[in-house]
């Protein structure tokens, strides 16, 4: 039986056909999978249809030959791996961060972390944890893109720079070409956030500082429940304006309360998301309504999922030094680096969204070629880009779909995948659990 299987290029090692369509873009959480990619035979790819600006730039990253480096000096891969293993063997407080990679890359990084007894965290965990902390304490009521594009007749979106954080959201999801259960062209809604330019058709902006998002959402919950919040304004939005939003939510057949986590109050994004959830649940007393988390890069949600299914704990945990230990406060990598609490850091950045931290902590960096580096790390090992140079999978930001990545090009200088490098690194570390050592303090 023939059929759909002839699109199986790039998975499991088969050769490529051109031009390639229905290609998944791994460069943000929208995980658009309708890209058309052309290949010029030298390893140069080009988006020919359906990619946003970021996709067009990143797919065009050339497949350059790239060396490993040890403290800025070019070295063969084996030497670099030996140097990395040497650094890690002696580490007392190792960490594995970045974690911007496909499922397999993240999985290999976590195996390494477990062997090392390391703390694991993703470069984008501040945004990720806004949603995660809210989930842990209150749960969530959400819908995925497929439902929203077909049903949602009202959008209340908290955020700013939607084109940057959620490219093509309006074209693909808010106003798709067709919709099953609503008039696709009639989507309307409200953007709540700072003024950042013109609003899409059918939308109006309620200007607000997003540090007030939790209070605004709480006031909306009151209004939707038929109560009157006190005062004339909430965070610079007039109460009558919010009242109109509440009416719209009550009258909608399927309302959406969405948010770009990265634009919320960095110290209290989870508080806002908990309030968004309350608003959604309140609206569901009489009609249908769902939340929609937006934004994210570097497969952050996917990385967190992998950690949760393999170890039972989310990121910001220590693995392998006893039972898995999750602590969002004590294991926030940015805080640990700022406090000089890490003595060896493995940084994985095969995809985008994991800019290297500016730190003096000794680093072993696995990054795609051309990744900007603030300084020469102890060890730099360039790795292949998932979805361009090798197959794999990533998760889409709305939480359900995992998309397949394909190998779109092979060149003579194809770099190793992050997973293979991490495996090779693991092989150089003692296979039994690293010994517990008692160490003297500096004073003695």
């Amino acid at each position: 039986m023939r059929g759909v299987w002839d699109m199986d290029y790039g998975l499991g090692g088969s050769d490529l056909t051109l031009p390639m369509s229905d290609i998944v873009c791994p460069f943000c959480a929208m995980a658009c999978d309708d890209l058309a990619i052309a290949h010029d035979g030298t390893g140069q790819l080009r988006v020919t249809a359906n990619g946003c600006a970021r996709a067009r730039t990143l797919f065009a990253l050339p497949a350059l030959p790239a060396h490993c480096f040890i403290k800025g000096r070019a070295a063969p891969l084996d030497e670099a791996l030996d140097a990395a293993a040497g650094l890690l063997r002696d580490a007392v407080s190792p960490a594995v961060g970045g974690l911007s990679a496909d499922t397999e890359g993240v999985s290999a990084a976590l195996v390494l972390a477990e062997r090392l007894g390391a703390v694991v965290d993703h470069a984008a965990s501040d945004s990720l944890f806004h949603g995660l902390r809210a989930l842990q304490v209150t749960g969530a009521m959400t819908a995925t893109f497929g439902e929203i594009r077909n049903r949602a007749d009202l959008f209340v979106l908290f955020g700013t720079e939607f084109e940057r954080h959620a490219p093509r959201l309006f074209d693909r999801i808010v106003r798709p070409p067709t919709a099953l259960f609503r008039d696709a062209g009639a989507a309307r809604g409200f953007l709540i956030g700072p003024n950042d330019g013109p609003v899409p058709d059918g939308f109006e902006r309620l200007s607000a500082d997003l540090t007030h998002a939790s209070a605004i959402a709480a006031a909306l919950s009151q209004l939707v429940a038929g109560e009157t919040p006190r005062g004339g304004r909430v965070g610079s939005i007039a109460m009558e304006e919010l009242a109109r939003v509440a009416v719209a939510l009550r009258e909608a057949r399927f309302g959406v309360v969405g948010w770009v986590a990265a634009t919320l109050d960095p110290a209290a994004g989870d508080v806002a998301i908990e309030a968004f959830n309350r608003l959604v649940v309140t609206a569901n007393a009489s009609t249908r309504c769902a939340g929609l988390p937006l934004g994210g890069k570097g497969n952050a949600l996917g990385a967190n999922y992998v950690c949760a299914w393999q170890y039972g704990v989310p990121l910001r945990s220590r693995l392998g030094a006893g039972p898995p230990e999750h602590d969002p406060l004590r294991y926030r990598l940015k805080s640990l680096l700022a406090g000089g609490e890490v003595d060896a850091l493995v940084w994985l950045s095969a995809l985008n969204g994991a800019e290297l931290p500016d730190t003096r902590t000794p680093m072993i960096v696995l990054a795609r070629p051309g990744q900007p580096l603030p300084r020469d790390p102890e060890v730099l090992i360039p790795v292949a880009i998932p979805g361009l140079d090798h197959s794999g999978s990533i998760h889409r930001g709305d939480g359900v779909a995992a998309l397949p990545l394909r190998r779109l090009r092979t060149t003579a200088m194809t770099l190793p995948s992050a997973a293979s490098v991490l495996s090779a690194l693991l092989d150089r570390l003692p296979s039994s659990h690293l010994p517990i050592r008692l160490r003297k303090t500096a004073h003695v």
Binding site: D22, G146, G320
Partner: protein, 562 residues
């Protein structure tokens, strides 16, 4: 391939497919991962293990257990407190892990293996979440695994039914889904109801028209059940009936059985669908009526979905029901997601309390079902993990079924009104070892179409479990003396001794590829994933280098109906 046999000598082999005389003493030969016929005299025997009369059974099979996928993973994330309480570090053999009723992937495999389970089936794989599900299953060590694809609330099917699609077209679609999602069966959850909830309908009865599509749950059910029968898929439609958990739902359960009208079907977690409305609390056991319906309809198999007292989480695709139950969440947090024109995900943590009348009666209802359904070939042991309780409670459940006085002791400790509202105390039946073997091995294997599992006849996969014949059946089943997976020892006295990777079990009925001419534009025009990216290629499973794909043969006209 080796030329040496492993000999398991002098065990009491309890294989109900051969005999039901309580097991007779005989030797078992294992070779190349399979049970071998008695070899010739000159054959090389590699290892001999003297079993000294211990009980030998095939590896147990969990026919319905939520072990992997988006829903299960969200449950893990929802309950960090559970993972703080139950966690283990790496020990040179095991990887680390955490959770008791939402265990992480590695420990899931270890615990099943240590208990003598060699296969488990994820019953609620949403097609849109299939890739994620298989990624998680790939990280469950040792055991074989498979999934049932959830259909019956997917907009493609409902639209086609509403437009008058033929049975043949539906069959092609169902087969296509089985291939595309790498599934071994199809499950329907609250047929039409999950979809109705998305249209803001809060309840849907068996003969009620869907608010948008106008078709009834009855039609969805019977069409899908017919598909699987037409396609020759051994596992019949796996049905999570409408109105789960609602007092009085025994009526819709019996109507569902009647609606199937002789078509093979499997009713899952039947306990949750066996409630009456009698008594002053308007909640009563209808286990006797439901058991009678099952007894009278040999086309029906069931798994019970027993509840176990304690903290757990209810995880289901049935968002209509879970949203309704969200007020009962304990602790008070819950998840409800509308998913991809496909289904939903509802998670409601729950604590079953033995002093609470309703929970205590639920406990009794499950046991009544086990004890009143006569044919152990058609009733299987589950807790609908984690909905009723964690799978690690199966040994306790086995003891309740085999040991009447233990059972009655428990009955005496729970809410005292239950004894008056349930006939459990008067039921004398005790399951025999043979019946346990049927209910946990031979029966599930048969209803899933696993011809070389669930028994120990030559040619079977050498998934072998050896138990000490202890009077305390819970201790016996909790810590088997030996567990062999594909002929390799993996556990000894209830402790893991080796790890490895099992197979993913799938079914691949034939279908007319013309269905793709409808599906491709459906995906392009209405979904947010393209058809080519939706389906799971074999390479995605095989390229992990962990276990293979095991394809269940399609039933032909000469095969018996399970």
């Amino acid at each position: 391939m080796s030329d040496a046999y492993t000999l398991l000598r002098g065990g009491r082999v309890c294989d109900p497919t051969e005999s039901t005389d309580g097991g007779r003493l005989r030797d078992l030969y294992l070779k190349d991962g399979r049970i071998a016929a008695t070899p010739p005299q000159e054959a090389r025997i590699g290892e001999v293990i003297d079993l000294e009369g211990r009980i030998v059974m095939a590896g147990a099979i969990d026919i319905h257990s939520h072990i992997g996928g988006g829903k299960v993973n969200l449950a893990r994330l929802l309950l960090p407190e559970e993972h703080r309480e139950h966690a283990s570090g790496p020990d040179g053999l095991r990887r680390s892990g955490s959770g008791l009723f939402t265990p992480s992937s590695f420990v899931t495999g270890y615990r099943y293996a240590e208990m003598g389970y060699t296969a488990a089936f994820e019953p609620a794989m949403l097609p849109s979440n299939a890739r994620h599900t298989h990624l998680e299953l790939a990280d469950i060590p040792i055991i074989d695994k498979g999934c049932y694809a959830v259909l019956g609330n997917d907009d493609f099917l409902l639209e086609r039914l509403a437009a008058g699609a033929t049975q043949s077209e539906v069959n092609d679609y169902v087969a296509w889904i089985l291939h595309a999602t790498q599934a071994v069966g199809v499950k329907v959850v609250n047929p039409g109801g999950i979809s109705a909830f998305k249209f803001n309908q809060r309840r849907l009865d068996l003969d009620e028209a869907h608010p948008h599509y106008g078709i009834t749950p009855r039609r969805i059910l019977t069409t899908l059940a017919t598909s699987l029968s037409d396609l020759g898929v051994p596992h019949p439609l796996h049905i999570h009936c409408n109105n789960l958990g609602i007092p009085g739902n025994e009526a819709v359960t019996r109507e569902t059985i009647a609606a199937l009208d002789g078509l093979p079907a499997h009713l899952t977690h039947l306990q949750f669908h066996s409630y009456g409305t009698e008594g002053d609390r308007r909640f009563s056991s209808a286990a006797a009526e439901i058991a009678e319906a099952v007894n009278r309809n040999p086309n029906i198999s069931v798994d019970v979905g027993q509840i176990i007292f304690g903290q757990t989480i209810t995880a289901s695709a049935d968002i209509m029901s879970q949203f309704r139950n969200s007020g009962l969440a304990s602790p008070r947090k819950w998840v409800c997601t509308d998913i991809e024109c496909d289904g939903g995900c509802g998670l409601v943590p729950f604590r079953y309390r033995d002093k609470a009348f309703v929970n205590a009666l639920q406990w009794a209802i499950g046991l009544e079902l086990f004890l009143l359904i006569e044919d152990p070939w058609r009733a299987y042991l589950t807790t609908d993990h984690p909905n009723g309780g964690p799978f690690t409670s199966y040994p306790h459940l086995i003891r309740l079924l085999m040991d009447r006085s233990f059972r009655n002791e428990q009955l005496a400790r729970i809410n005292p009104d239950v004894a008056a509202h349930s006939r459990l105390g008067s039921i004398e039946r005790e399951y025999t070892l043979d019946e346990i073997a049927i209910m946990t091995r031979a029966g599930p294997a048969r209803v899933l179409g696993l011809r070389d599992r669930g028994h120990l006849r030559p040619g079977a996969v050498a998934d072998v479990v050896v138990y000490d014949d202890l009077p305390d059946r819970e201790a016996m089943f909790a810590a088997p003396a030996w567990v062999f997976k594909n002929g390799r020892p993996v556990a000894r006295n209830g402790e893991l001794t080796a790890t490895g990777w099992g197979d993913t079990i799938v079914v691949r009925p034939d279908f007319d590829p013309a269905i793709e001419r409808r599906l491709k534009p459906w995906f392009e025009d209405h979904q947010t994933v393209r058809l080519g990216n939706f389906r799971i290629a074999d390479g995605e499973i095989l390229d992990h280098g962990r276990g293979g794909l095991s394809i269940v043969p399609i039933l032909t006209a000469s095969d018996p109906c399970f």
